[in-house]
Amino acid sequence: MESVKFLGPSLGLSAILFTLGVAGVLLRRNAIVLFMCIELMLNAVNLTFVALAQVHGVAGWLMVFFVMTVAAAEAAVGLAIILALFRHRQSVDLANVNLLQG
């Protein structure tokens, strides 16, 4: 029993952080802050993987590596898109991005 620590509190903490990330995505209109909230959600998922790796083995750690790689790639491409958006609209407010809204 000693080898598995803080399983319940870790899962609860990751649920809190994920909830905060979802609330941030729904609340904010700034595209950059929205990306930060997505990173917050990915971090919450990573915490779940690390907590459950204590019982399920090292594969959980490897999933964290893959999630970190995808997050870094996503941040690079997303911020490039935001830069291109800012060049066209002079703003990163998502309310101004309505070209596909019909």
Partner: protein
């Protein structure tokens, strides 16, 4: 006792950082609060026995991703804006969805390894070590040699995802350059 005090301290710091990240008006302040969340999470990873992940958290997330965020925020020279929050309908939707998600807390917080073992094996087995031999093996391997215990599954079992990751990074690199450059 000491360990659980440190866990709850860093857990509270992580939650505070996340909450301030979504509530601050200035994007720079948001990024700095998110940075404190990520440092706290790195400390929690170390407490959970994953020192390698904690180090990578600091190097990759704080050292690379958040610095990139700060670069872009300062490049765009965004000021504080009063209408950054969505309208009342957006706030209501956020509160409802966040509330629904928060309900799962009450379930997850009381999860114990013993209960997980009993649920997975479905035979009333409550011995964690018998239900999850992989976890015990990892504990021993990690105490012995962390690099070997990570590298072996990474380059044997998960070789194909690893290679796909490298292709993904290359694609992201080229894509970011193409998107951000004015004329190719």
């Amino acid at each position: 006792m000491m360990e659980s005090f440190v866990f709850y301290l860093f857990g509270a710091a992580a939650v505070l950082g996340g909450a301030m990240c979504i509530l601050q008006r200035s994007p720079v302040a948001s990024a700095l609060w998110l940075m404190s969340t990520m440092f706290s999470l790195a400390a929690i990873y170390v407490l959970l026995g994953a020192e390698v992940i904690g180090a990578f958290q600091v190097l990759v997330y704080v050292g690379a991703v958040l610095v990139l965020f700060l670069f872009v925020v300062m490049l765009l020279n965004l000021g504080q804006r009063s209408d950054d929050l969505r309208g009342p309908s957006g706030i209501a939707a956020a509160l409802v969805i966040a509330g629904l998600l928060a309900i799962e807390l009450t379930v997850l917080w009381r999860y114990t390894p013993r209960r997980l073992a009993a649920e997975v094996t479905q035979a009333g087995v409550t011995d964690v070590a018998a239900a999850f031999p992989a976890g015990q093996m990892m504990q021993r391997a990690a105490a012995h040699n962390v690099v070997q215990s990570i590298a072996e599954p990474m380059f044997r079992t998960y070789l194909v995802p690893f290679e796909i990751t490298s292709v993904l990074l290359l694609a992201a690199l080229v894509g970011a350059v193409v998107l951000a450059k004015r004329r190719i």
